[in-house]
């Protein structure tokens, strides 16, 4: 597991699972497993923008970017290569 995945898992555990032990893989869907709800998506966006320094655009709001640990890792990786910095 890479450092970014570990960081994200820690964030998800603390913010959406409140430290309650829940087993899910890095590919498991947050929505299908009821880990992130609609307000949670807003929280996730705020976390990405605040911690990783890029703007989440409207077209980024798709499950392949935001719905699993691995999706987030790849999304952040792509954005780091082509940053759209928050103005």
């Amino acid at each position: 597991m890479n450092d970014l995945a570990t960081q994200l898992r820690q964030y998800v555990n603390e913010n959406f699972l409140f430290g309650v032990e829940t087993k899910y893989s890095d590919d498991d869907s947050f929505m299908e497993n009821s880990i992130v709800d609609s307000t949670g998506v807003l929280e996730l966006i705020a976390h990405l923008e605040g911690s990783y320094g890029f703007k989440v655009r409207d077209e980024d709001l798709v499950p392949e970017n935001l719905d699993s640990i691995n999706g987030l890792v790849q999304f952040i990786g792509r954005r780091r290569e082509q940053p759209a910095v928050i103005s």
Binding site: T39, V41, L61
Partner: protein, 334 residues
């Protein structure tokens, strides 16, 4: 035929009820709940000029008599003039005593408008009291399953801007506007206390089940006489109870934001008659294909609504939860 049994196919008629029988049943329940269980002399109803509060008030009048039903109009800066006008026409028809309690000053004192405007200025610095605005959700049938809230702001020169709401702005705006429902409920209980009346809540099944209410705001009440009825059934009762036609024709609105906003723009996925059918389908485990055919939607669209219903129901658990105790009161050692 299926193994000797007739397989019944869902139709919108499944939501049709016998209005006279249902009204009688609710009237008997209100009478028993208010006078015997709650031991209160009558009922207070907040009147919004909408279908739900109108039907609730009309049922309470049938149950208790007009002299035991007290109606309250609670306009504020953003509510529509229609709300008061239509509410008054209902009260006049029912012959109930009413009062107008303008809650704008109370809301202002609590900082409702200032806190809300300050949050919106983070997003749109030119936002001011002259701007009209509302919060909207994108269609459930759009490309993304993520439905994040947008604010629509219309300036005095007709410019309209749509901006996606970040978490902090969204939460601050919702928290500030929730003062409206909570102040209204506080006012209802003021009158209930002075009259020794109970407070009747006005949610229908869609709102109650899906959590379309503010906890300790419009979610608070001593009885909720129509919380088991689909919205289309509330309209059926409205017709039976002769609720004024102007109220029956009025599109459901949140009446919370200064721009006109439908309930499906803010919360529900579909217009209420379609939403009712989907909720009925979900509750009765009717295959999405059947509901889709009755509504002119695709099965995939109905499946999406079913998932949205489940998600909202889950989110509503917190709203319905009573205060949690460490031990049941019957187990108290003290």
């Amino acid at each position: 035929m299926n193994g000797g049994f007739v397989t019944r196919v869902f139709s919108l008629d499944d939501l049709t009820l016998d209005a006279a029988d249902e009204a009688d049943r609710i009237v008997a329940a209100i009478r028993s709940q208010v006078l015997r269980q709650l031991r209160r002399k009558g009922v207070v109803v907040g009147l919004s000029g909408g279908i739900d509060s109108s039907v609730t008030a009309a049922l309470c009048v049938q149950a208790l008599g007009a002299d035991r039903v007290f109606g309250i109009f609670m306009p504020e800066r953003d509510s529509s003039d229609d709300s008061l006008r239509l509410g008054r026409s209902l009260a006049q028809q029912l012959g109930i005593e009413t009062v107008v309690e303008n809650i704008a000053e109370t809301l202002s004192g609590a900082g409702c408008y200032a806190r809300r405007d300050s949050a919106l200025r983070q997003l749109y610095p030119a936002f001011g009291p002259e701007c009209r605005w509302k919060i909207v959700l994108p269609s459930l049938f759009g490309n993304s399953p993520y439905r994040v809230y947008w604010v629509v702001i219309r300036t005095t020169d007709g410019l309209e801007v749509r901006l996606r709401m970040p978490l902090d702005v969204y939460q601050e705006v919702v928290a500030a506007t929730n003062f409206k429902q909570r102040v209204r409920k506080m006012m209802e209980y003021y009158h209930a206390d002075r009259l020794r009346y109970a407070v009747a809540g006005t949610p229908n099944l869609l709102e109650y089940d899906q959590g379309f209410f503010v906890k300790l705001g419009d979610g608070a009440a001593d009885l909720k006489p129509i919380a088991h009825l689909y919205k289309t059934q509330v309209y059926q009762l409205a017709e039976y109870l002769c609720v004024p036609e102007a109220i029956r024709r009025r599109p459901p609105t949140t009446d919370t934001y200064s721009l006109e906003q439908s309930q499906e723009e803010f919360f529900f996925s579909l217009p209420y008659h379609q939403m009712d059918a989907c909720l009925y389908g979900r509750n009765h485990e009717i295959p999405a294909e059947q509901v889709a055919e009755a509504l002119g939607l695709t099965p995939d669209q109905v499946e999406r609504v079913y998932r949205d219903i489940d998600a909202k129901r889950k989110a509503a658990t917190y709203l319905h939860e009573r205060p949690l105790l460490v031990q049941d009161e019957s187990e108290s050692q003290w």
